[in-house]
């Protein structure tokens, strides 16, 4: 077995017990990236040289010598950060995102910045100014998005874990499409400082890995309090330590009544049935909750967040404009992709004084109703089980024909962000070559219980294998 094939926990143990060296591990991962990247294109920027320099720094942290990859909307000091947009040009942030700083301080080596949909707006990882990422299980298919590069990198064995961000499903859906575990923590659990915002009240950073235990290790590192993010909650302390003696006996797991009428592709409905059986065998009680959900809020925040790209202080720019208005118009029109422009305009439209009350304020009230619905539901149940997506990953180039269908798919993931809940995307098995993933949702701050439930499910399903389709 090659070192790149080992999961995070085994790598940490192996390094501590000196079964192999950090240099050997680095070389193994670098070689793996060399052999797959041309076909998968999971990365916008490779930073092997930076990782090689890090190898020479002494660090006794738990991740010392462990290679990782982070989504390219997380700021890395002095290292190009693009959010997959042309508008940021070759911008090198003067500071680190807190989540990356915590990993770096624990000894993690940065191998690259992962591809994504531009400013995290998309669900396929095709809407990147740097071209699409391919699913390592089937190169003709999308890896999901927006954190598609981060999910594909872990699936293909580039690194044992990566970071992504989730505004409406951007960790959970690509995790399911690529056949890895992905975790979106409770809003406020992980500092968003240094995350290039999409919808600030929805965004949350989280990890991808090939076992649930590995997610627990990363969560224990990145969930530290950070005063630089006012939405980061100081009062909450969480113990993500792996525990073998856990049980689902008597736990209530609910299916959402309204979703029963929705059409799922058969491999996903089969996976739902299999997982219900696993949970029942473990002593959980399966029930139903009612949750009439309506989606949509992110865009109105996006248009405000993206107003900061003023073309003067950093990023893509022009020098020969007649005046400030022309300069803004030219750079923004040339620098943003079509999807981003459409969302900015939609956000401007919804928050204009004439429409603000009718649409934006109504949407924030609907969001209150959604949060109340979930709060009531979690009075009756411990977890909610549902798909991470109603479909398996589609073919590259096929998306974008039916935006309403895409909104419908978001219904499985976006309400979790609206209510600030944690969600675990977990592997259930394969349908042919394609992995099938589902999602388990918990109440706010139930992150540790949710991951424990994931550990139990993984004992039945087994961990996913590394995808080899990308090898040259």
């Amino acid at each position: 077995m090659e070192l790149y094939e080992l999961n995070l926990w085994h790598l940490i143990m192996g390094l501590q017990e000196k079964k192999f060296s950090a240099s050997e591990l680095y070389e193994s991962c670098k070689k793996r990236i060399d052999s797959c990247e041309e076909n998968i294109h999971a990365l916008i920027t490779r930073t092997d040289d930076i990782a090689a320099n890090q190898l020479n720094e002494s660090n006794s942290g738990i991740l010392s010598g462990i290679p990782t990859i982070i989504k390219d909307n997380l700021c890395t000091k002095g290292i190009k950060t693009t959010a997959a947009s042309k508008i940021l040009g070759d911008w090198r942030p003067p500071y680190d995102a807190t989540a990356w700083k915590f990993l770096r301080n624990s000894g993690a080596l940065l191998m690259g910045k992962a591809n994504m949909d531009e400013f995290a707006m998309g669900g396929t990882c095709e809407k990147s100014a740097y071209g699409p990422t391919h699913n390592p299980n089937d190169l003709s298919r999308v890896p999901g998005g927006s954190s598609g590069g981060s999910a594909a990198a872990v699936s293909a064995g580039y690194v044992p874990f990566s970071l992504g961000s989730d505004t409406g499903g951007s960790i959970r859906q690509p995790a399911a499409y690529c056949g890895v575990y992905g975790f979106k923590p409770t809003y406020g659990m992980v500092s968003r400082y240094g995350l290039i915002s999409y919808g600030s009240s929805l965004d949350q950073i989280g990890p991808f890995a090939r076992t649930v235990r590995d997610l627990q290790i990363i969560m224990s590192i990145i969930s530290e309090y950070d005063p630089m993010d006012s939405s980061c909650f100081r009062e909450k302390k969480h113990d993500f330590t792996y525990n073998e003696n856990i049980s689902l006996k008597g736990k209530r797991v609910a299916l959402v009544k309204e979703f029963q009428d929705f059409t799922l592709e058969s491999p996903i409905s089969e996976a739902m049935k299999r997982t219900q059986k696993i949970l029942e065998d473990e002593g959980a009680i399966i029930k139903e909750v009612s949750l009439p959900v309506i989606a949509a809020l992110a865009m109105s925040e996006a248009h405000t967040n993206l107003e900061r790209y003023d073309v003067v202080r950093y990023g893509y720019t022009v020098n020969d404009s007649a005046g400030i208005k022309e300069m803004f118009e030219r750079v923004r029109s040339e620098g943003f992709g079509s999807e981003v422009k459409a969302r900015i305009i939609a956000g401007t439209c919804l928050t204009e004084p004439t429409r603000c009350e009718e649409y934006y304020v109504a949407a924030t009230k609907v969001r209150t109703l959604i949060a109340q619905e979930f709060a009531r539901a979690f009075g009756e149940t411990d977890f909610i089980l549902q798909p991470a997506s109603p479909t398996l990953p589609g073919k590259i180039g096929d998306s974008g024909h039916d935006s309403l269908k895409e909104y419908e798919a978001d219904l499985y993931t976006l309400p979790v962000n609206l209510a600030g809940l944690p969600g675990l995307s977990f592997f259930t098995g394969y349908y042919g070559d394609l992995p099938v993933g589902l999602q388990l949702i918990g109440a706010r701050w139930s992150d540790t219980e949710l991951l424990n439930a994931g550990v139990i499910i993984e004992r039945h399903t087994g961990s996913p294998k590394i995808a080899n389709e990308g090898v040259k």
Partner: protein, 96 residues
């Protein structure tokens, strides 16, 4: 159609964006589909519902009102092509 091409174009200009013909067509469709979806809100009684906020955030956490100079202003200025000394330079704002 709730919004015409002209209306969408004027919103685009407010956002300092100039759209190509294709982009305009796509955005008109996008926004109108979206507004139709949001019309479903009208089926709900929202009169006595408060706009959303996270329950835990009862007040905004404040830091001490003390100036903390950024350690590396040079790194910030290095990222811009529009710098004069320690200032950002922008085209003139006032019309003649």
């Amino acid at each position: 159609m709730k919004l015409t091409s002209e209306e969408v174009n004027s919103i685009a200009l407010e956002s300092r964006l100039i759209l190509t013909e294709n982009e305009l067509d796509r955005t008109v469709l996008y926004i109108n589909n979206f507004l139709d979806m949001l019309d479903r809100f009208k089926e709900l009684d929202l009169k006595n519902v408060e706009p959303f906020s996270f329950a835990e955030v009862l007040q905004c956490p404040l830091r001490e009102d003390k100036i903390i100079p950024f350690a590396d202003t040079e790194a910030i200025l290095n990222e811009s092509e529009h710098v004069d000394g320690s200032y950002f330079k922008v085209p003139r704002i006032m019309e003649d």
